[in-house]
C-alpha cells in the first residue's frame, strides 16, 4: 500500500511538472540561467564593434567594459570609449535596477565633467550600431515576463526556446525569443520583434569560452537587422575575472579615473 501511494505521488509530481504552465516553465529556465552564472564577481573585457551597412561598408569602434556583480540589485557596469578619436576617454557608468529605470552617468573629457543622464529611453541604437542599449545591459530576470515555447536542436545544440516580453513600456520590442543551451544555459540565439511584432533583428552568439569552469562568455555577437539589412559584430577579447572590484570602482570618481 505504502509503495502504491509512493508511486502515485511520484506520478502526480511528474504530471504536475509536465502540466506546469508555459509561463512558469519559462520563468524557471530564466531563473536557472541567472543562477547558473551567479558568482562571477567581477569581470573586464575589451570590445570591438564592427558596423556594416547594407552596401557592405564597414566602420569600427573600440571600447572596454568592466562589470560588478550584485545580487540584491542589478549589476553595475562601466564602459570606456577608445574610438572614434573624438570621443576617446568618454565613459559611462550604469547601475541596472531590477525594477524601474537604470541610473546612468557619463563623463565627458571635453567638458571634464560628469553628467547624469536622466532618461527612460534605453532602446535607441548604441553608438550607431544595431544593438540597442537594452540589448547590452545586464539581463535581469525581473525585466521580462516569460513563456516557454519548445525545445529545439539548433546547430547540434539542444536548447530551450523561451519567449520573453519586456516589462518596460518604453522598450523598443514587443517580445524576444531566446534560445538557451540546455546544458549550461548560455544564450545561443535571440530574435527581436519590434513594437508591431514584426521580426526586427536576430542576434547569434559564437566563440564561447568558459571561465572559472562555469561562466560562459561569448567571444562574438552578431546582430543582423532584417528590416534595414545592416549588421553589427561585437568582439569580446581579453576577459579577466576576479579583479577584486568594489563599489568604489563604480563611482562617479572612478568614471574620471577610468577615462585616463
Amino acid at each position: 500500500m505504502k509503495k502504491l501511494v509512493y508511486t502515485f505521488a511520484t506520478l502526480l509530481t511528474a504530471l504536475s511538472l509536465s502540466a506546469q504552465s508555459p509561463e512558469a516553465r519559462g520563468l524557471e529556465i530564466a531563473k536557472a540561467a541567472d543562477a547558473y552564472d551567479q558568482g562571477f564577481g567581477s569581470s573586464k573585457t575589451t570590445l570591438t564593434m564592427i558596423l556594416t551597412n547594407k552596401q557592405g561598408q564597414e566602420s569600427t569602434r573600440y571600447m572596454s567594459n568592466q562589470t560588478l556583480e550584485l545580487t540584491e540589485d542589478g549589476d553595475k557596469s562601466l564602459i570606456v570609449f577608445d574610438s572614434p578619436r573624438d570621443v576617446k576617454g568618454t565613459a559611462t557608468l550604469t547601475f541596472t535596477h531590477k525594477e524601474g529605470s537604470d541610473d546612468q552617468w557619463l563623463y565627458l573629457p571635453a567638458l571634464k565633467r560628469v553628467k547624469r543622464i536622466s532618461s527612460d529611453n534605453k532602446s535607441g541604437p548604441f553608438m550607431g550600431s544595431e544593438f540597442a542599449y537594452e540589448d547590452l545591459s545586464s539581463q535581469e530576470v525581473e525585466k521580462y515576463s516569460y513563456k516557454f515555447l519548445k525545445e529545439e536542436n539548433i546547430n547540434g545544440v539542444d536548447t530551450y526556446v523561451v519567449e520573453r516580453d519586456p516589462v518596460d513600456p518604453k522598450s523598443g520590442y514587443a517580445r524576444q525569443v531566446v534560445w538557451y543551451n540546455k546544458e549550461n544555459y548560455r544564450l545561443e540565439k535571440m530574435d527581436f520583434y519590434d513594437r508591431k511584432n514584426a521580426l526586427l533583428k536576430t542576434l547569434t552568439y559564437g566563440n564561447y569560452e568558459v571561465y572559472k569552469e562555469k561562466h560562459w562568455r561569448a567571444g562574438e555577437m552578431n546582430m543582423v537587422n532584417h528590416q534595414t539589412g545592416k549588421k553589427t559584430k561585437l568582439l569580446f577579447e581579453d576577459y579577466v575575472f576576479d579583479l577584486g572590484f568594489t563599489d568604489n570602482d563604480f563611482s562617479q570618481n572612478s568614471l574620471r579615473r577610468a577615462s585616463r
Partner: protein, 796 residues
C-alpha cells in the same frame, strides 16, 4: 514610276476586294478565328496595378539614382503624414493631446513602420544642474494642468525642429509622421499601409469627434495614383461606351452594326489587356488610359467600314456586295491611318517615363487589333447578322453646310491662307507662355481627397515639396567639426532668407539644443560647441538617450561624415524649385569648402526634372514619328510634294494647340509633352482621307482644283466630321479624369484634333488649289475608266 505606283494602289484596292470576298465567303471561320485570337490574348488574365510613384522614373533616371543614393545613406522616407486639427482650434488641450499620444502609440503598429514622429514623443532635452533630461515632450497629457499645457504649447510652437514641420505657429494643427520602410516585395504594401492608417484615423475620430484629420505623404500619394487609375475605369469607361453606342446608332442607324462595332472594340481592348498581362505591364494612371483611347480610336476604323456598307445598301446594293465594296475602298485608308496611329503611339517609347511606354505600346497593340477586327470580325459579323437599312435620301443639311464651306474656301483662297497664317503665327507666340511644371500634387483634381487634404496641410501647417541636400564633412566624425557645423548653420540661415522656404530640418539644431543643455540650459550656449571633441561627446550622450525608432539616422550617416538638410517648400512651380535648388548649390560652392558641395535631390526634384527630360526625349520621339509618318503619307498619296504639303495641316494644329494651351493654362507637364507624336498619328488621318480624295478627283477624274475640292468635301467631309466628333467626345471624356496627367493630355488633344479638322477644311484646300498638280499623261486613264465600270457607286 507613276505607273508602278498606280499599280500598287490598284493592287491595294484589289487586295482589299479579295480580302472582302474572302471574309464574306469564310465568315464563320473568320469570326471564330478572330474570336479565338482575342480569347488567346484575353487568357493572359488581368493586369495588375502598379501604384508606386517610382514607376514614373526609368531605372537609370539620374535624379532617381541620386535620391536612392541619399536614402541609402540615411533612411528611406516613404511616409504617412497625418494632420490633426481640433474643431475648437486648440491642439494643447488634455483631450487632444491624449488623442495624439494614443494615435502615436497606435501608429507604431503600422505595417513596415520604422519611425513615428509627433509633438508628444518629440525628444525634449533640458538640464537641471549636472543632470541631463531627455524625454518625450508630452507624456500623460490627461494629467496636465492648464499652466503646464500653456508651457508645453510655448515650447512646441517655438522649437525650430517642430514649427512648420509637426505643428503650426498658432498651435491649431499638428501632425504625426509615420515613416515606413516598404520591403518592395509586392505592389500591395503601400495599399496595406494606407488601409491600416485610414482605419486607425477613422477609429480615432469616432473616439474623439472633436478632431478633423487630413492625410498625406508618399504612401497616400501612391494610394491616390491607384485610386485615380481605378476611378477612371469605373466612371470614364462606361461613359465612353455610352457615347460610342449613341454615336454609332445616330450615324448608321443599324442595331446589328452597333453591336458589331462594340464587339470589335471589346475584342481590341481585350487583346491589348491580354498583351499587357502577358508582358507583365502594371497599370498606372497614365497607362490605364489606354482603354479609353482604344475605345475612341477603334470606333473610327469601324465607322469607316460600316458607313460605306450602309451607304451602299441604302443605294440598293446587296449586303454582301456592299461589304466587299466597303473593304475594297476602305482597306488601304484604314490600313494607312492605323499604321500612322500605331507609329504615333509607338513614339511614346522615347519617353523618359515608363508608364508612357506602356500606354504607347498597349494602345499600339490595341490599334493593330482594331484594324484586324474591323476588317475581319466586323464584316464577318455583318455578313452573318441581318442588317436592315431604310432606303432614303442622304441628309441634306450637313451636306449643304459642307458645300457652303467648300464654296467659301474656293472663293476666298488667299484670305483663308492669310488668316490661318496670322492665326498660326499668333499662336506660335503664345506657345512661349507655357512653362514646364510638374507639381505632382496638382496631378490630382480637387475632388481627390489626397489633393484636398494635402492642400489643407500646405495652407495650414507645412509644405509638401522638399529638396534634400547631403552635405559632406570630408572624414569620419567630421560633422562634429565646428567649422562644418557653423557653415551648415550659415547655409540654413541663407535658406531661410528665401521666401519659398517653409522649414529647414538640419542637424545643427540638435547640436545647438544639446550644447545649451550641457551648459545648464544657458541660452548663450544655443550655438555650436567650441571644439570637435566637445561636439562629438555631446552627440554620443544625446544619441544614447534616444528611444527606439527616434535615432539620428534620418539626419546623420553611420560614420558621421555627412548630414542631411531637408528644405520644405511652399507650393511653387517646379521651375522655381529647380532655381532654388541651383541657387542653394551655388551658395555652397561659393561659401563652403569643396567637400560640402551638394546637389538638391528628393522625390519632388525627381518630378521637377521629369517634364524637362520628357520634353527632350520626346523631341526625338516626335521627330522620328514625323519622319516615318511623312514617308507613309507620301507613299499613300503617291506624291512627295503633297506629302510635304500635308505636313502643314498636321504640324500646325500642334502649334495652335500649344498656343491656346499657353493662353488658357500656361504650363506643360509630363502628360502634355507626350501628346505630340500621338496626336500626329491621329490627325494625319484627316489629311490622308481629304488629300487622297482630292488627288483622285484631279488625277483620275480629271477635275479642276476647285471641283476636286468640292469632290473631296462631298465624299469625305461628313465622315471626317463624324470621326472628329467621336475623337473629341472620347478625349473629352478622358479629360474628366481626376488624374491631371490624363485630363491635361486629353484636353490638349481635343484642342489639337479640333484645329486639325479646321485647318484640313480651310487651309489645306486653299493650299491645294494654289499648288499645281501634274495631270497624269498616260497609263492612268485606262485604269480609271476600268475602275468606274467596276465600281458600283463612288464611295467615301
Amino acid at each position: 514610276m507613276k505607273q508602278s505606283i498606280n499599280n500598287l494602289k490598284k493592287g491595294g484596292q484589289q487586295f482589299g476586294e479579295r480580302w472582302g470576298r474572302f471574309v464574306v465567303k469564310f465568315r464563320w471561320p473568320v469570326l471564330i478565328g478572330t474570336l479565338a485570337l482575342a480569347m488567346a490574348f484575353g487568357a493572359g488574365g488581368q493586369m495588375g496595378f502598379n501604384s508606386d510613384y517610382h514607376v514614373f522614373f526609368s531605372e537609370d533616371n539620374p535624379q532617381l539614382l541620386a535620391y536612392d543614393g541619399l536614402q541609402n545613406k540615411y533612411t528611406k522616407d516613404d511616409n504617412v503624414f497625418i494632420v490633426i486639427a481640433p474643431k475648437d482650434g486648440e491642439v494643447f488641450t488634455r483631450q487632444t493631446l491624449t488623442a495624439i499620444e494614443e494615435l502615436t502609440a497606435e501608429a507604431w503598429q503600422t505595417p513596415y513602420s520604422s519611425r513615428v514622429d509627433a509633438i508628444t514623443n518629440f525628444q525634449y532635452t533640458r538640464a537641471v544642474e549636472d543632470d541631463l533630461y531627455v524625454d518625450d515632450l508630452i507624456e500623460n497629457a490627461a494629467a496636465k494642468s492648464p499652466a503646464e499645457l500653456k508651457e508645453l504649447k510655448d515650447i512646441a510652437t517655438s522649437d525650430p525642429r517642430l514649427v512648420h514641420r509637426l505643428i503650426n505657429e498658432e498651435g491649431t494643427a499638428t501632425a504625426i509622421n509615420v515613416t515606413v520602410r516598404l520591403p518592395e516585395q509586392d505592389n500591395g504594401e503601400s495599399a496595406e499601409v494606407a488601409a491600416f492608417t485610414r482605419q486607425m484615423v477613422e477609429d480615432l475620430k469616432v473616439k474623439y469627434p472633436n478632431l478633423e484629420t487630413y492625410m498625406s505623404g508618399f504612401v497616400m500619394l501612391n494610394s491616390a495614383f491607384f485610386e485615380a487609375a481605378n476611378g477612371d475605369f469605373q466612371t470614364l469607361t462606361p461613359l465612353m461606351f455610352l457615347i460610342v453606342i449613341i454615336t454609332i446608332l445616330l450615324t448608321t442607324r443599324t442595331f446589328s452594326g452597333t453591336i458589331s462595332t462594340l464587339i470589335v472594340i471589346v475584342l481590341s481592348i481585350m487583346t491589348a489587356m491580354g498583351f499587357g498581362a502577358y508582358m507583365g505591364i502594371g497599370l498606372t494612371p497614365p497607362s490605364g488610359a489606354f482603354i479609353n483611347i482604344i475605345l475612341t480610336l477603334a470606333v473610327a476604323d469601324s465607322i469607316h467600314v460600316l458607313i460605306t456598307i450602309i451607304q451602299q445598301m441604302r443605294n440598293g446594293v446587296d449586303k454582301r456586295d456592299a461589304i466587299v465594296e466597303s473593304l475594297r475602298v476602305n482597306f488601304m485608308p484604314v490600313f494607312i491611318t492605323s499604321l500612322t496611329t500605331v507609329i504615333g503611339f509607338l513614339s511614346m517609347n522615347f519617353s523618359d517615363s515608363p508608364p508612357f511606354h506602356d500606354l504607347g505600346n498597349l494602345t499600339a497593340v490595341g490599334m493593330v487589333a482594331a484594324f484586324l477586327y474591323s476588317t475581319l470580325s466586323l464584316p464577318a459579323l455583318l455578313a452573318i447578322l441581318p442588317v436592315k437599312v431604310k432606303a432614303r435620301a442622304p441628309k441634306k443639311d450637313k451636306g449643304t453646310f459642307l458645300e457652303r464651306l467648300a464654296e467659301f474656301v474656293i472663293s476666298n483662297k488667299r484670305p483663308v491662307i492669310a488668316a490661318s497664317s496670322i492665326f498660326i503665327l499668333a499662336s506660335s507666340f503664345l506657345v512661349f507662355k507655357n512653362e514646364l511644371n510638374d507639381e505632382f500634387i496638382k496631378y490630382f483634381s480637387k475632388d481627390v481627397t489626397f489633393r484636398s487634404d494635402t492642400d489643407y496641410i500646405s495652407d495650414n501647417l507645412t509644405g509638401i515639396y522638399t529638396i534634400e541636400f547631403s552635405v559632406g564633412a570630408s572624414e569620419e566624425g567630421g560633422i562634429n567639426n565646428p567649422e562644418y557645423l557653423n557653415t551648415l548653420k550659415d547655409f540654413e540661415d541663407w535658406l531661410y532668407t528665401n521666401d519659398e522656404v517653409v522649414h529647414v530640418n538640419a542637424f545643427t539644431e540638435v547640436m545647438e539644443q544639446v550644447n545649451k543643455s550641457m551648459h545648464g540650459d544657458d541660452l548663450a550656449y544655443y550655438r555650436m560647441p567650441d571644439n570637435r571633441e566637445e561636439a562629438a561627446q555631446y552627440l554620443l550622450l544625446y544619441e544614447m538617450s534616444l528611444p527606439f525608432g527616434l535615432d539620428l539616422n534620418n539626419q546623420v550617416n553611420v560614420d558621421k561624415s555627412e548630414t542631411r538638410v531637408i528644405v520644405t517648400l511652399k507650393n511653387i512651380p517646379t521651375k522655381s524649385m529647380l532655381e532654388l535648388s541651383d541657387k542653394a548649390s551655388a551658395w555652397l560652392d561659393a561659401n563652403a569648402p569643396a567637400h560640402m558641395k551638394a546637389e538638391g535631390v528628393s522625390s519632388t526634384m525627381m518630378f521637377a526634372h521629369l517634364s524637362e527630360r520628357q520634353i527632350l526625349s520626346m523631341i526625338s520621339g516626335t521627330t522620328v514619328a514625323l519622319v516615318l509618318i511623312s514617308i507613309v503619307l507620301a507613299f499613300a498619296i503617291r506624291s512627295a510634294k503633297f506629302g510635304f504639303l500635308s505636313l502643314i495641316p498636321n504640324i500646325m494644329p500642334v502649334v495652335v494647340g500649344l498656343g491656346i494651351w499657353g493662353l488658357l493654362y500656361g504650363y506643360i507637364n509630363t502628360g502634355i509633352s507626350i501628346v505630340f507624336g500621338m496626336t500626329l498619328g491621329i490627325i494625319v488621318d484627316d489629311t490622308v482621307h481629304f488629300l487622297s480624295k482630292y488627288l483622285r478627283a484631279r488625277r483620275e477624274l480629271g477635275k479642276s482644283p476647285e471641283d476636286s475640292v468640292r469632290y473631296a468635301f462631298s465624299t469625305v467631309g461628313q465622315a471626317l466630321l463624324v470621326t472628329t466628333f467621336v475623337l473629341v467626345a472620347g478625349f473629352m471624356v478622358l479629360a474628366q479624369s481626376n488624374f491631371g496627367l490624363n485630363s491635361d493630355m486629353a484636353r490638349i488633344t481635343v484642342i489639337i484634333i479640333l484645329f486639325a479638322l479646321i485647318l484640313d477644311f480651310l487651309m489645306l484646300p486653299a493650299l491645294l488649289m494654289l499648288s499645281p498638280v501634274k495631270r497624269p499623261q498616260d497609263g492612268s486613264k485606262p485604269a480609271s475608266t476600268n475602275k468606274t465600270t467596276m465600281q458600283p457607286v463612288p464611295a467615301t
